[in-house]
Amino acid sequence: MSSLEHAGPPGAVASAPSAWDFFADRAFRALATAGAYLILLLLAFILWQIGRKAWPGMRDYGVGFLTSTNWDVGRGHFGILPAIWGTLYSSFLALVIGGFFGVVMAIFLTQDFLPPRLAVVFRTTVELLAAIPSVVYGLWGIFVVVPAIRPGADWLYSHLGRIPFFGSTLSGPGLLPAALVLAIMILPTVAAVSQDALRQVPYRVKEAAYGMGATRWEAILKVMMPTALTGIFGALVLGFGRALGETMALAMLIGNSNQLSLSLFSPANTLAALLALNFPEAGPREVAVLMYAALVLLAITLLVNVAGGAIMAMAGRKAGK
């Protein structure tokens, strides 16, 4: 008892905090709380800053900006419908391709297909795919993907050119190579989040299915997938969100052409690519318009990501029960 009452005589186990300790404690806690507020402020500041700079553009061009297809700096005509269309179309294509491979990869890695050593190889492959910078994918797309798919694209155009999807030639950059590279870039996101969703399904559920005589794929498709469905759906939405905001690979591969087309081979544009390509040389008037475009991109990605987050939260709550 007595040793606790003394403030630190030799041999005492502990001493009461000094006035300095109290002060330092308060100060540090205030600092950490300030750090937390700072993150909130940062998000608010980003929204405010982009919104503020976009205001002149919004005032001058209004809603028509979203539905016009012209982009003529000289005449002051600006419209981003082709860019919105290109963003959604390329991301959707990437989602179909990358989502399929991502989910299959997640099944492949979680459902005991592989001996542990081989599983490490494929897991590392997926992680490395995520680690490579997008500008490197862009470079690779220009020099590998475009030449590789051009013969196939030309064949499709000359034989099935009547179908709108193949309605033009691939003259270099275009929607399909961009979407393919985009698919590769969202595959790791989809695979990682889907893997988490599949791992949350208790192992005994699968054992029960096996016990009832299900084959491996019956167990996967009729038991595991439905159980993990919400999580996998969330993975796809998050992947879509990533695809919407991806910039460099698209700026390098999509061809930067303002046209509305269903064709997979024609050049197109996306909001992010529009910003990347026009911002460096923009005058003050164009900057306002580009800020408006940035605000539209921000709104679309926020919407998709918040939806994805909500779905993931729902999946987590379901698994928790």
């Binding site: 905090p17 709380t33 937390a36 993150i39 299959v104 005991d112």
Partner: protein, 312 residues
């Protein structure tokens, strides 16, 4: 678990039961040629094929980097300045310096703020309304397209200071790094055991002392993993630098003086600029720069992996 076919239940079982005779035990024979067994095998083959197809791009990227980038990689490339239009030779020494400086500055801004914020989330008020809002903000920032971080830095640094500069690029990168640091540092601090903490409180430590002497040192490897991941991601980012740091063909340090407030080169922007040029020399340099950038990113990734493993 053997991956093969699980014995199918004999169809006669149900009928046997219906007549009321003694239940016949299900047949446990393998029926590998049954339709659904074959379907399962076919799907397994399909999954293998898909996994291998999904690995092709990585192999192709790495192959191209080694062949095309490796061919040009030489000491001189790492220390020389970028060549102009028709010039031969040259390198991207200033871009390496620029990338390191901007990522370093970005980390200097984002890491302290991120860790302080994580301390609040994990230790001070994990269940408070503020914590909920901050977590939501951090997750939202994770999904922020990197080009918008650039737009933000352009509006709040470039337009204010009146010049493209390294700090503008660093601010854009910091915006992208902060959420990663916050979320991983919070996770790392959460894993510190309750008992150790309580022991420290029992000794009469203040909360800050517990955080500084117990939680932060214990969670350090996890926190560093998060920081390294953020650094690796930032090093490869191009979009946020395009119109904040721009590009430059000169050194950041001239005559012994560091000039930060000027356009600054980076590896990523160099690759982007050179990839679109019609000159073979520049394209070779773009590949070599890609190789250097990927090695840099992978190196940081591996270090973070090692740190993470030591914790486990």
């Amino acid at each position: 678990m053997s991956p093969g076919v699980i014995p199918a239940v004999d169809r006669s079982v149900g009928q046997g039961m219906a007549v009321g005779a003694r239940p016949v035990p299900p047949s446990l024979k393998r029926a590998p040629l049954e339709r659904r067994a074959l379907l399962s095998e076919a799907l397994t083959a399909g999954a293998w094929a898909a996994a291998i197809i999904a690995s092709v791009p990585l192999v192709s990227v790495l192959y191209m980097l080694v062949v095309r980038g490796g061919a040009r990689l030489h000491w001189s490339v790492l220390v020389e300045l970028p060549p102009a239009g028709f010039e031969m030779g040259g390198g991207f020494g200033n871009a390496i310096v620029g990338t390191v400086v901007m990522v370093g500055l970005g980390a200097l801004i984002s890491v302290p703020v991120g860790i302080l914020c994580a301390v609040f989330l994990a230790e001070l008020g994990p269940h408070s309304t503020l914590a909920g809002a901050v977590r939501f903000a951090a997750k939202t920032l994770t999904g922020l397209p990197s080009i918008l971080a650039g737009v933000f830095a352009y509006a709040s640094v470039v337009l204010v200071t009146g010049t493209y500069s390294a700090p503008a690029g660093a601010v854009a990168l910091a915006v992208l790094m902060v959420p990663t640091v916050v979320l991983t540092a919070e996770e790392a601090m959460k894993t510190v055991s309750r008992i150790t903490r309580d022991a420290a409180y029992g000794m009469g430590c203040t909360r800050s002392q517990v955080i500084w002497r117990i939680v932060l040192p214990t969670a350090l490897p996890g926190i560093l993993t998060g920081v390294m991941l953020a650094v690796a991601r930032a090093a490869g980012e191009t979009a946020p630098l395009l119109f904040t740091a721009l590009f430059s063909s000169f050194w950041l340090v001239e005559h012994g003086a560091v000039k930060l407030m000027q356009p600054t080169a980076s590896l990523a922007v160099l690759i982007y600029n050179f990839s679109g040029m019609p000159f073979e020399n520049q394209i070779e340099l773009a590949w070599a720069a890609s190789l250097v950038l990927v090695m840099l990113v992978l190196f940081v990734n591996i270090v973070s992996r090692l740190l993470g493993r030591r914790r486990a």
